[in-house]
Structures are given as C-alpha cells and as structure tokens.
Amino acid sequence: MPWNSDACIVGLGETEYVKQGEMTDRSEFELACEAIENAAGDAGVDIEDVDGFSSYANDRNKGSLVADALGIPEVKFSNKVWGGGGCGGSAAVMNAAMAVESGAAEYVVAYRALCQGQFGRRGQTQGIDYAEGTDAFAHSLGLETPPQMYALPAQRYMHEYDVPQEHLGHVALTSRAHANRNPRAVMHDREMTMDDYMDSPPITDPYKLYDCCLESDGACAVLVTSAENAADLPQPAVEITSAAQGGGPGWGSGVLSSHNMPLEDYPTSNAARVADRLFESAGLTPDDIDVAQLYENFTGMVLMTAEDYGFAPRGEAGKLFEDGNAIGPDADLPINTSGGNLSEAYIHGFNLVVEAARQVRGTSPTQVDDVEYSLVASGPGVTPHSGLILSPA
C-alpha cells in the first residue's frame, strides 16, 4: 500500500540551540512550548487551533501537559513513538500526518525538546545501581553508553568492508562545513580539517570525539495539517510525499542492548526495509533525491544508513563524502546541510526534519537549487527506523 496522505508541513519552529548546560534561564519544558508556539506562529495558525501533539523516544514533555501549558482548548490526538534514540523523529511526523489524514485532528505538531544539561548527558552513565531486563545484558556487562553501543556495528562494518577511518572523518567534516554556513549552528565558525579529526581524542574505537554528535539544549517542532488547509496559509507548503517507519526482525532493542540482530543485517542501520517502502511508495529511486539529511549520532552509522537507502553500494558510502563530495549546494548529493547532530545541535535529530523541510521551502543556509525531493532518515540501529520524502506541494 503506498503512502496516500497529502498532509503538509506548514510551520517550522525552533528555539536557539546551545551546548548542553548553557540553557540556564528556561526549562526543557518551556523550550518545548516555545518551539511549538514558533511553529504555529511561522505557519500563521492560531495556537488554539493546534489540536494534536506527536513526539518520540524518551521525550519528557508529554503532549497532554504541553497542551495544558499552551492553553489548548481541546486535545484530539496525543501520541509518542515507541523505540530508542532518534529513530522515531520522522515517525512522529508520519503519525501527525496520519492523524490529520484520518480526521482525528486538524493541526498536529510534531516536536522534540531536549536539554541534556538539565537531565543528564547522553554520553555519561547516570550512576544507577541496577540494570533491568534486557538492558542488564548490556549495561552490567560493560556496554553502557550510546557511543559504545554504536561503536560495535561500526567496528564490524569497517572490518567486513575494509573501510578506512578517514571515511568516518569525511562525514564529520561534511557536517562541520555545513555548520559553518549556518549561523544558528552550535559549532558555527569552528573549522575542522582531517588532521583535526584524526587528532581528536579517542572516545571508544573506532569513534573519536568528532565522530560523536553534540550534547545540546534546545527544541524544535513542525506543524502538520491537510493540503486543503495548507493552501490557505502564508508559507510554501511542504508535502509529505512519502513516510515510513519500522524495521526488521530482531531489531527491537537493536544496538541499544540486544546485538543479536540477524548476522547478515548486523553491520547496517536497520533502515533498508523502511527505505525500500519510502521509495516504492513515492515511485522514486535514490537518484531522484536532491538533498538528504541522514541522522548522525555517530559517523559510522551515517555510512551504513546511506547504503541502506541505496545511495552507495555496501562498504562504499565513504565515497559520497570524501573530497567534499557532499558539501555545498552544488554537490551531487548534499548531505546534512544544516550541520546536523554533529555540528548544528543534537535535538535528537528533529533538527534534521526541520532542515529537510527548509530545503523544500528554499530557506536552508546551504540551499540546494530547485529541490523537488528532500529526504530525511531518522535514527539508526533500532526499530522503528523512520524516514520522510518531502517535496513542494
């Protein structure tokens, strides 16, 4: 069954993005409200008309509470995608579109707020004494933090395909180059060379410091409504041309704890099935994509995601990035054009969704000419992975 919604993204809302710990005057909850208000304001929609709330992962800012805080007269849809990491970012938008398409709600906001400085850094353990259930088979045996969890498939991937460290480095350099074109990026004005990358401190092999996403404070949101409503609103409507979420067998906790995914799938991002559905549903191929945002919690996963999406053969995604191949508006396939999780901010990858929509509107800091199809792939390595193809309505 193809994706048959014509729902559109009509509003984009962001707070400022800062390094974790630097957001000291506003709570994470306030940032969630601010991003949602900004998305409604950008769309030209009265905040009281927003009647649906959609987020993902471990967002603490429940739709029901955000709605109360914003004085929403009636909530008609409130939903969060199950699953770890940033994998559900695109799925949250997909769910918003489905709510609109079904008539369950009219203006649904998909959002993510994350202040690591207020609630504990992702790269650090939180001093718990006991690990529960399946997590015990990871945490109690030494595998405690995301960089370690995502290092394991990367090491296997590099081993199987003889991938050099520099291929990971080019992913980091690509995001940084784009951040340097984006004044809102946390790492704006911080040039990075391959020497800088290679000399950055080892975190957990094969990952060096610059292979790892930022730890940030901030929030962002997109407002979704019907094509009919979108036509009457001031901003250029961004059509959700295709949307998909899910994953293969055995990927439920995936790299976050199980590590018993089928061996043939192991050095991948668990994104191939979603990618196939995404393209098939839209009647498109990877060649049709003009610009891509590929979730980068860690550089190695970007390579595997790019391969899962068919942008490169297995083991060769590094060539998409080397020699500046993915940098700038004139690249064959510009990737992570705002600086992404690595260099713009780590808002659990929802900033990648915002950037994918900006590329369709024509307002990216690295704007690609005449974008017909803008792709975003949310987090790797667990179920659900999710993705969107966006295009001008």
Binding site: G123, Q124, T125, Q126, G127, I128, D129, Y130, A131, E132, G133, T134, A136, F137, A138, H139, S140, L141, G142, L143, E144, T145, P147, Q148, A151, L152, P153, Q155, R156, H159, P201, P202, I203, T204, D205, P206, Y207, P249, G250, S257, S258, H259, N260, P262, L263, Y266
Partner: protein
C-alpha cells in the same frame, strides 16, 4: 567517586522473571542460553516467547563457554567518575560456540585491550561481583 571494584563501576543485573535463570546459572559458573522447549531454537537475550514457533515453553541450554570476538570497542573515556581508573577497557560481543549465531555482550579481560581483534578465540572467565552476582567475562583462549 572513583570505582575500584566492578560493583562500583558497572550496574548490577536486576534478575527478572524472564532473565533470572541466566544469572542464577552464572552464579554456578555455567553459561546458559535460552532454548525453545518445542522447536529447540536458541535465543538471546531472554524473552518469554520463541520468535520461531511462538512457544512459551522455555528450556536453558548450557553452552561450552568458548567463542570468538564478533566485534568490539576499546573504550577510552570515563562515562562517569566511577569509570576513571578503569579506562581503557574492552567491550565485545562474543559469538558463542555451540550456537549458530548467538552473541553475548561481554568484556575481554586479562589482555591489553588494544590487542583484542575480531575473530580472536576467547573463553569465559567468571567474575564474582558480590555474593549474589557473577558475570561472564572472557579472556583469550
């Protein structure tokens, strides 16, 4: 606070209904993997249902406690103050002998972490964390 014992560095496993038999076997220094009582398929980590035949009947199969490093990472950073004197350390997934594809997350010890590599043959070494808990670590064999 800096940790010196394993108990101070890593969280202890909470023994739940589905997982307790694994950890209890560890206390006896036996490495076991969940096995479907109907179709015989092995699975890990433990779950209440066989994903191959949907049986809820569970056995536990003892495996030899040898295998090879399937993938690994050498961790150089301290994820908390407790880890500070523990770095660098290895974390691996070990492909277990006696199974087709079961992998156990563990740590390869008794060797320079930088010497661990994919394909390295390893064997279980039991670390008694405290009176209630033993964890399976591995060393080169």
């Amino acid at each position: 606070m800096r940790g010196t014992t394993r108990e101070e560095i890593f969280p202890l496993p909470e023994k739940g209904i589905d997982t307790a038999p694994f950890w209890e076997a560890c206390n006896r220094h036996e490495l076991v993997v969940q096995q479907c009582a109907d179709c015989g398929a092995l699975r890990h980590p433990p779950t209440p249902v066989c994903p191959d035949c949907r049986s809820f009947d569970v056995d536990w199969a003892e495996v030899p406690g040898t295998g090879e490093v399937y993938t690994y990472t050498t961790t150089h950073y301290a994820a908390s103050p407790a880890h500070e004197d523990h770095t660098p350390y290895n974390v691996s997934t070990v492909l277990l002998d006696g199974t087709e594809d079961i992998r156990l997350i563990t740590q390869v010890v008794d060797v320079d972490p930088e010497a661990v590599e994919i394909g390295m043959p390893v064997e279980v070494v039991w670390e008694d964390v405290n009176e209630e808990t033993t964890v399976p670590l591995f060393r080169p064999s």
